[in-house]
Amino acid sequence: MIKGFTIIFVLLFIGDAVSDLLNIPIPGNVIGMVLMTIALKYKIIKLKDVKPVSDVLVKNLAFLFIPPGVGVIVYFNLIKSEFIPIVTAWVFSTLLVFAFVGKIQDRLSKRA
């Protein structure tokens, strides 16, 4: 457990540092995720060291979004005053992404 958390936080720190130093718009955690995959692939990190911790975090990922989701209350008034554009854009655009990515990838996957 401790080893797993150590690896994860070190990778997160490296990711953040790279993102800051290179001043790129990609956040440190995404860089860290890629580093994790690469480090496992090249056996720099052993799977058994990170699997238990990663399983806990991945399985409960959705739970971590509750506080920022509750944060919507701060903007109730703004959302109320621009309700139609916000809600329409939110729902319409989400469905469109599902349709485009789902359909295109479905075609391409079958051909492959």
Partner: protein, 233 residues
């Protein structure tokens, strides 16, 4: 009383308790609108409204929970590694093509719809990157002059919407492949969609994790360009 509620442990305990109950309800009824994240957020908002506790007080504890989003994204690298070969065989380069198209469609449709319906520039900037994971979306919004915390709320709302209606919608429009399912879930609704994709299977979840990263990178690069074009042309 104020001091007791101001204790960060209060909101941490409350969030765990509500989510625990919401999960129990979901596992009993398995009805999509009872999605535990949606139910928990709504329940906590109602509790805060009724008891007149503001978000700032709630977030004293809440931020300790959302803090773990950082390490959790790193952890997504593990299922990604485990399924990498399978993803490459089944999807390959086509995954990058689909994700980039999805990214452009997502930004363009969100920004244009909001703008055409009369949203302010600030709100358009806040909604444009709604399909990517919170830290990426907030960073993009900040760069183009939106309100980062409004983006955070819209991002979570998008994740919840995708997790709730995504699987049924994809089935409705006839998406069959597991790779396409996972990619759409991660592209449209980031981490919350990915959590839902893992319920379908390890492969779906891993592809969805990949989509978070790819779509995050694509959206970070494309949003400022689209935003510039919309407001300059």
């Amino acid at each position: 009383m104020k001091e007791i509620i101001g204790n960060p442990i209060f909101s941490i305990a409350l969030t765990f308790l509500i989510y625990f109950i919401a999960q129990a309800i979901y596992s009993k009824y398995d009805f999509m609108l009872l999605n535990p994240i949606l139910v928990s957020i709504v329940a906590i908002i109602i509790i805060l409204k009724v008891t007149d506790i503001n978000f700032h007080t709630y977030n004293k504890g809440g931020k300790f929970i959302s803090f773990f989003l950082g390490p959790a994204v790193i952890a997504l690298g593990v299922p990604l590694y485990l399924r990498f070969k399978e993803i490459k065989e089944r999807g390959g380069l086509s995954i990058i093509v689909s994700t980039i198209i999805g990214s452009v469609v997502g930004i363009l449709s969100a920004a244009l719809t909001a703008k055409l319906l009369g949203a302010s520039k600030e709100v358009v900037a806040s909604i444009a990157p709604k399909s990517v994971t919170t830290p990426i979306a907030m960073g993009i919004t900040e760069k183009i002059g939106g309100i980062p915390s409004l983006t955070a709320a819209i991002v979570v709302a998008t994740g919840v919407l995708g997790a709730v209606i995504g699987p049924a919608f994809l089935k409705l429009i006839g998406v069959k492949s597991k790779v396409a399912f996972g990619l759409a879930m991660g592209s449209a609704s980031h981490g919350i969609g990915t959590a839902r994709a893992f319920q379908e299977g390890e492969l779906e979840g891993a592809v969805s994790s990949l989509a978070i990263g790819l779509n995050g990178i694509a959206t970070a690069i494309i949003t400022p360009i689209i935003f510039y074009l919309i407001y300059k042309l």
